[in-house]
Symmetry: C2
Subunit: 219 residues, 2 copies
């Protein structure tokens, strides 16, 4: 029997991420994680302060998976690429977005990422003022995710939709569009890029007209 290596923070975080990938964030418990590591629950607390701090650590590890910014390019494609890379990281770990929603303060890694995105915008010529509003407008989208209101693909055993004819029509439109997909769900990637581009184009237009939220003071 191979006696597994000593525990350390890194091993704990990696195991937690892997476990969350498998069973989901809500099923992840300290006890389950300890069991996965062949260790008693309390052993984890020698490496992690508590569950919240564990999740913070997991998130930091995920966020550092995001590709670094490429070499000089226009701000719009640069930001676009960065955000789509973040999205790929989030798709690799579907629980991550929910975890970010749960935490209240951004972790250092998230701050570093935000800092770099802001840097791209500023270097691209957007004013500090506009950049500020842009970051708010992007919201969680800057990290590659948005919360959808309807879980896609649950068309089976859907409740009666006849009271909501407009919803039905829209759903049908989506189903027709990409009938290549058997389930008829939406193309999430397309929807994400669509919204992102609407926003980025809007930001560009505001930049070009020197938009600012603060009235210009003369004198």
């Amino acid at each position: 029997m191979v006696k597994t290596l000593r525990l350390n923070r890194d091993r704990v975080l990696r195991a937690a991420i892997e476990l969350a990938d498998e069973i989901g964030l809500e099923q992840l418990s300290m006890r389950r994680l300890a069991q996965e590591l062949d260790v008693v629950p309390m052993a984890l607390y020698k490496h992690v302060a508590n569950k919240d701090e564990l999740i913070d650590g997991m998130l930091d590890m995920i966020v550092t998976e995001i590709d670094p910014p490429g070499p000089g390019a226009e701000w719009k494609p640069a930001v676009r690429q960065r955000i789509l890379s973040a999205r790929r990281a989030m798709l690799r770990h579907r629980w991550a977005s929910r975890a970010i929603e749960m935490r209240q303060a951004p972790t250092p890694a998230i701050l570093a990422y935000l800092n770099s995105v802001i840097g791209i915008l500023r270097a691209g010529g957007l004013s500090a003022n506009l950049t500020h509003h842009v970051m708010h407008a992007l919201g969680s989208r800057v990290l590659g995710f948005t919360q959808e209101l309807y879980t896609p693909g649950d068309a089976r055993e859907a409740p009666d939709m006849t009271p909501f004819p407009h919803v039905l029509e829209i759903a049908m439109a989506a189903a027709h569009e990409n009938d290549s997909i058997v389930g008829g769900g939406c193309d999430d990637q397309f929807e994400f890029e669509f919204a992102l581009d609407v926003l980025l184009d809007g930001f560009e237009r505001l930049k070009d007209q020197n938009w600012t939220s603060t009235p210009i003071r003369y004198g």
Copy 2:
């Protein structure tokens, strides 16, 4: 001693909403709610299937607080007004957005609300195809909220921000902008309307140029 009235679903839901308003969603437990109603925990289960169903009921009640659509107007101001009304409802119950994020399927009341918004867009001349993408792009914003990455106003005892100069600069810009507010936090309402207008303007432009995601088939 006044013997309080019999319990019923409505009283349970109202008490739950009031309690969540006071102590927050994460502090709301079946036991705490029962105590508030001078009743034993299990009594609640005669009126509510389980905690998830309780939250669904609370949400349905909140969503029906949203103002009905006003009389005929342009689609853009009509949708704008509807969404800002939803936002007001969400601000009255700060826990609601988190609750919606937690649920997986939209409740009937939410479906009805979405249906009405879609109806406004369709009546305004947007194609079913464009409307579909518009609804996705709005995401949770259609219900009046977005998840912010940074809890605003926590400037006190902030961690060291010197590693993130761009973040700092943006935060300073925000503080300068509305120095009327002592804390220097962002004007959330402004940020919300800013992002909403960027999106709505973008949608209008796409509508005007008959944008569609499906290639037009000839013949």
